[in-house]
Symmetry: C2
Subunit: 697 residues, 2 copies
């Protein structure tokens, strides 16, 4: 066992602490509690444990570190800065400011060591389970004797909040079931949450609970005993067969004077007095003395004044070369590992050319031309339920794209979302491409996000559409991160029938459309389903494909135009599915099963002498974004338009037919002071007035 | 310990089994697996354990039975029929048919012993935790020495699915923390889920996990040993200090021939051959012989034929007076208990008149006139964030309505949703009105639903609006059940600021509006906040009140009209907040903070000579439902209208300004064959064509 240099670790830890309280003071917003409590642990991880290369954030075999307790973002920013990632003191100084690289919660950016977006509690932990599964899958596919191409570990820190969230439980249960021994979770157990001591809410034996889920659990009863922490971590990392949890008793706000151990330090700036105390009493003292002079540091009033001035002048936080150089010593051993790995890959290429080829194919996201051709030409022999068609199309895609893996929440038989001919992964064999997530929709969604994070695997996850509700937080994060995660939701409306209202999604379709950067397709037939898959394969973000329980109306299959042309229209939001003349009396539009219904109704009206156009809307949000296409399909606003959709439009339809200008929000928000965010999105009286004047013209 | 009559229990159990497979065969839809596996256990519960009165489903001190695994609905229907609730064989025979009283999943109807709506897994279990908390709260408030007015127990059956769901974990952890010894969960452990054996997904030691959460756990390794089951249950019921779990090893499809133990029986009809086998080999044989004759029952082919004919003729299932009379023997002891309780209440009234008065007040849902007056007149001294105003208004309501209880998911300090001056409930003292739910949004939502089910307590639950996503399934079920659960979500838009996009709700506002039977308010000022609370207190379903993080614009407070009149407008969806003339050049409308913004912009435009009206929309869905009010506020469609709202309208806004007729869905679905449901909602070609013709007129 390596002896770690505890003093230097504490120095590096104190620097993280300083950066946290200093930058949070600057922004007057943030969460110092976790960075203060865990700083030393982080320094151990980045100096002695994690394998990484700050110059190559996408290194396929890097160890991953995920801060599940994302509110402690300054912990992560301080660490990746110390470790040498390209995140400078100016970036840290702009913590939580408009368009800075250090937003309030960490946002997915592997280039600087941010592996995933966290903040909504439990999500990072569940992502970590997905990343660990990916590691196992890659190892099972590519590792050869003497060539451990993929043997990375996934580390995550979770707090009491993550522990309590159901999604973390679900993911932990999956991890235990699969025996993910490349996953090491650190539970920052400090007995404090926002509202006070955990004794008001939590009386579990968390360690025992994780053991019951098949985890190996160890404890550090004193976070300050860093050699003990390191030894326990090392033992856990080396243990085989189970995911591991280290319960570390930390003290929130460690290093502060009055706020140490208090819930008040969880989410509020420590204040200048505490910063002064910290500079005086921590290993940061020499740094402060160098900058301010010893006599200033000796005098709390003068030190406070000096700090206040420094912050007001927006000077960056202190550099601390001794601390950062210490952490960056990790490169001494990591550089060797990295170079070795690169060399190993070269040798692998020579020795296992077919495997190497497979690896290259797997890590390329290009859609094979042959597959694209098949998808464009896709045809079913007879009308069917789109869930069945979806299963068939998915099978086609899986044949040619080995990076597609996924599964469902115990509904494969219903959603048909499976990699045909492949097995389920299990604790002894990860070669399969199917994942049995169990009845754990939320865990599934977040594990799926973890699988997608690396940009190599293209996961799909699947359940009944009504259970979108159980996993919405994961869908939202997929959109926010723009990761390639395919959500296949079936039984997409009232046609679920006998299972009744709990199983009939009504509000779900439009609620998905509202999510920025997410595209939702509700295919009406065979080619729309194939096109939706093609769109997913070609695009750069998450996609939802809805499948029906019931057969689609036959009329929906009768469109005869050229397929490439149709796909171009599909991507713009829809196409004319049937028409009996160019200047229609009425336009009928629908999605999914109601597209067919619109066609059937149009034919009936045509038989009565009406001129009718029936439109299939592939994605309402795409159509809305393509105004020309919208005009082409839905008319100029004069021709009566009838929209048929077995889904709720409650609320918004108040504006249907109104002469309305809308000032709303179409992108995810951003981290900055509220006034700045409001201004960015145009929510000021002046900007609104200007928009009104435009509307009046 | 009472010896139970095992033979008669099995007879009653077989009748439940028969009803299940027979009615599911009739509807060709349903889940026989659980009813077959658990039938005998159910018979023990309803004959020997549960305290209930089929004539008084609302009896305040009844034991509750909640079938969390709601897909096994025929189990529950068979039991409440056997127990004497007003659910006849004709009702059972119409299982899953249009407008029957026996929908696919149980729907909240205490009159017939259906305590809550279940189906989405884990929800019933979490509801049960809420009902158990209510029991403890009522006991702490009203029980006196010798007067145990409230000592009911809550029983629930959960399957592997419920066990795996995160919401059940969250709720179980709360139950353990609070030591809810009036809660007894039966885990129907049959190793089978829809996709196959649980070995592919679940390798937890569930018992150990529950122990780690503070539960007392016992095991029945053979469900067929009913005396053992009864004894274990009795011991558990009597044990004090912890919630209890009985893990029962059952066999899915028990009683069948080939499908016993198979995942195929989980959710598909057993088929006539299995029904024939069952009638021949179970205690149902004499019943079948009486109907068909022994020689027919002896001959599988003839019996099958007879059954087929009976089903085709839609004759009701067999009555089995011996079985139902046996279960109804429960009335011999339950009647005594019920009468005693009624008498106890009378004596209580005499002996503790003040307490009795308090109980009457608590169980009345009427809004005190004095409170209504205060809410109508409510005024803050200066502009504030609506989350603060909400906290103040809630305090007012709590003062006069003791039935209001609730809490938040570790964000009381932020959402301000608390009963001021009251303590948190804890395992030793349930007199408090505040509940610390921990960082368990989903559990909170479902426990809140449990608290609301009885119609006595009026719970509120609260978190950041962005975390609605974590608890949406509970919000949906509150709407579906039309129960009085107040959701207070704060930090309602981008103005969250520094916490960034993960914490800034964008799509959430409109996604709530889409939910049938739910009203969402986004108040703009003091009186709108007070009105929203008043609306909740007066209405009959769930309400969402959104609160801002930031102060509302001062202009939003300046409306001077009479308050009663304003409230009338508020209830219709909105009011004119500012105007400088009757025939405006432009109408600005907004909600919440943007209502103030609209007023500010209107004033700017007015200063430039424009005639402007600014409208505050209290609830877009209410305004949409009140077309006259909509026209009055938003104009006739000719005056330009500008809608300002810091929320996504993506997708639907494609239709803003179009001449569109919408055929969509505004109610929750229903349980019936798909074609019937489609017809009910107007989704047939004929009905669509008719609507189009109306639109063309």
């Amino acid at each position: 066992m390596v002896e770690i240099d505890v003093n230097k670790v504490k120095m590096a830890g104190d620097y993280i602490r300083y950066l946290a309280i200093e930058c949070i003071e600057r922004s007057q917003s943030g969460h110092p509690g976790l960075p203060l409590g865990c700083a030393d642990l982080g320094a151990v991880l980045y100096r002695y444990m994690l394998r990484y290369n700050p110059e190559d954030g996408h290194w396929l075999n890097r160890d991953r570190f995920i801060l599940s307790a994302g509110h402690g973002s300054m912990f992560l920013y301080g660490l990746v800065h110390s470790a040498g990632y390209k995140l400078g003191l100016e970036d840290l100084s702009a913590f939580r400011q408009y368009k800075s690289r250090t937003p309030g919660h960490p946002e997915h950016e592997p280039e600087i060591g941010i592996e995933t977006t966290t903040g909504p509690l439990g999500q990072g932990f569940a992502n970590a389970v997905g990343v660990a599964i990916e590691g196992k899958m890659m190892a099972a596919r590519f590792n050869r004797d003497g060539f451990p191409l993929f043997d990375y570990n996934v580390y995550t820190i979770m707090g009491d909040g993550c522990t309590m969230e159901g999604v973390a439980y679900e993911a932990a249960s999956v991890a235990g079931h699969l025996g993910l021994d490349n996953l090491i979770a650190i539970y920052d157990s400090n007995d404090i949450t926002i509202d006070g001591n955990t004794s008001i809410t939590l009386s579990e034996d968390v360690a025992k609970r994780y053991e019951a889920m098949g985890w190996q659990v160890a404890r550090c009863d004193k976070a300050s005993d860093l050699q003990d922490f390191y030894s326990k971590m090392k033992q856990l990392v080396q243990a085989k067969g189970k995911p591991k949890l280290l319960v570390v008793r930390t003290t929130i706000g460690e290093g502060l004077d009055k706020m140490k151990g208090s819930h008040k330090i969880h989410g509020s700036p420590a204040g200048l007095d505490e910063i002064v105390y910290f500079l005086q009493h921590s290993t940061m003292r020499p740094v402060a003395e160098l900058a301010y002079g010893a006599e200033v540091v000796d005098d709390p009033a003068r030190l406070k004044d000096a700090e206040a001035k420094r912050i007001a002048a927006k000077e960056p936080p202190f550099a601390h070369p001794d601390a950062t150089m210490f952490v960056r010593e990790a490169w001494q051993w990591n550089g060797e590992i990295y170079t070795k790995w690169k060399k190993m890959l070269e040798e692998y290429k020579g020795k296992f050319p077919a495997d190497y080829e497979r690896l290259m194919k797997l890590t390329s996201s290009a859609v094979p031309a042959s597959l694209k051709e098949k998808l464009l030409a896709y045809k079913e022999s007879k009308p069917d339920a789109t869930r069945n068609i979806s299963g068939n199309v998915l099978a086609l895609c899986c044949e040619e794209m080995p990076q597609i893996v996924g599964g469902s929440a115990d509904l494969v038989g219903s959603t048909k979302a499976t990699v045909k001919g492949s097995q389920y992964i299990n604790r002894d064999d990860f070669r399969g491409r199917n994942i049995a997530f169990g009845i754990r929709e939320h865990g599934m969604g977040s594990i799926g996000n973890g699988l997608a994070l690396n940009g190599v695997l293209m996961p799909f996850t699947s359940t009944f559409f009504t259970f979108l509700d159980y996993m919405k937080p994961a869908v939202r994060l997929a959109a926010l991160m723009k990761i390639k995660h395919l959500f296949v939701f079936t039984h997409d409306s009232i046609y679920v029938g006998e299972d009744g209202p709990t199983h009939q999604p009504i509000e779900h379709l439009n609620s998905l459309r509202l999510v920025p950067d997410l595209v939702t397709f509700r295919p009406a037939n065979d080619f729309e389903t194939a096109f939706a898959y093609l769109y997913f394969l070609e695009c750069k973000g998450p996609v939802v494909i809805l499948g029906s329980r019931q057969n689609m109306p036959a009329s929906a299959y009768e469109v005869t135009a050229d397929r490439a042309g149709l796909y171009a229209e599909f991507k713009k939001g829809g196409y004319v599915a049937w028409s009996n003349g160019d200047a229609p009396d009425v336009i009928l539009a629908g999605t999914g099963s109601e597209a067919g219904l619109a066609i059937d109704a149009a034919k009936k009206l045509a038989a009565e002498g009406k001129k009718v156009r029936a439109v299939s809307i592939s994605s309402l949000e795409l159509l809305e974004a393509n105004q020309d296409q919208k005009k082409k399909l839905l008319g100029d606003g004069k021709t009566p338009l009838v929209m048929v959709e077995a889904a709720s439009h409650r609320g918004m339809s108040a504006f249907y037919g109104s002469n309305v200008t809308l000032i709303d929000i179409r992108e995810f928000g951003l981290s900055a002071p509220a006034e700045k965010v409001a201004e960015h999105f145009g929510f000021t009286a002046d900007k609104v007035a200007s928009r009104v004047k435009v509307a009046l013209k």
